[in-house]
């Protein structure tokens, strides 16, 4: 397995990340071909650094897909990690979330980012997930 070349290039990771993002964007196109895929595979195989950069963005790309499921109302997909989350509740939450999201964007940003979650909209309470 080849190691990323450390030739003193300035911020090599940033360049690899940009390349990985460009690959991901191209793969999303309608005219993506087997030839394109083979070229991408070659690039990935050239360095483990290429792979991890691409995996990281690809995982991000896939995460955004959950929002798509939410928008189309197929809440089961959104909550597919959930064992039994009633579809109606999920959909209601989806609507509430979008309403809250819209409201937050309409109001001038008077609070810092970390307080976005703590607004009283919808009466959601912040649940501490860690001790």
């Amino acid at each position: 397995v080849s190691v990323v070349s450390k030739n003193g290039a300035d911020n090599a990771a940033a360049a690899i990340k940009a390349r990985a993002a460009a690959w991901l964007e191209q793969r999303d196109r309608e005219n993506w071909s087997n030839v394109n895929q083979a070229t991408l595979d070659d690039w990935l195989a050239a360095s483990l650094a290429h792979r991890v950069a691409f995996w990281r963005l690809d995982a991000t790309w896939e995460r955004t897909e959950r929002l798509a499921a939410l928008r189309s109302g197929s809440a089961d997909d959104v909550a597919r990690t959930s064992t039994r989350w009633p579809a109606i509740a999920a959909f209601a939450f989806a609507l509430a979330l979008f309403a809250a999201f819209g409201a937050v964007r309409l109001v001038p940003r008077l609070w810092p980012d970390e307080q976005v979650y703590s607004t009283a909209i919808g009466g959601h309470k912040v649940i501490a997930l860690s001790t």
């Binding site: 911020n11 990340k17 964007e25 191209q26 991890v52």
Partner: protein, 198 residues
Amino acid sequence: MVDTPDNDHESLDPRHSSAGVKVSDLRAWFIHEVLPMEAALTQYLHHNWRNPNDIEDLLQDVYVRVCEAAIRQRPDSTKSFIFTTARNLLIDRVRREQVIPIEAVLDLDSLGIAVDEPGPDRNVMAREELRRLQAALDRLTPRCREVVVLRRIEGMQRRAIALRMGISEATVAEHLANGVSALADILYGEAVDFRRQK
């Protein structure tokens, strides 16, 4: 998270294909066990390295090192393995570059870094995931966010997006690439906000 591996039949080490780790396995391990540590790892690197411009490269080097090791043998504890790797990398860099780090804080606990994932209440996790995605989207520039939303949430084709927004398809592509890159930095690189709020 859906795994759509690029070339999952491929073995990473063709010379030892029988013992080789499948790319898809390494990918799944990296995404599910390593990437969730990115915020804590980034914090750790910042605490222990003077030049913030090096952090992105250091992060990449840690990822490459842990994956190289995982090809040979999957570590028992991903968390401690990642931070041991990071520490060793910093020590190597100090030796090579003859620079002195800010301080030799190598003890995770002393940094108060929250690494352990919260308990698996799946409903809460699903909702948190949506909140995080929404919040991350909201951090993109307006045009970039619009492109990402139209493509990923509305499922529109690039040409339609370009027409609707009055921009070229090349610009649409640029926004998509920049968008996914920025989202990755927010979703993986930053500590979850409700932790900071406490």
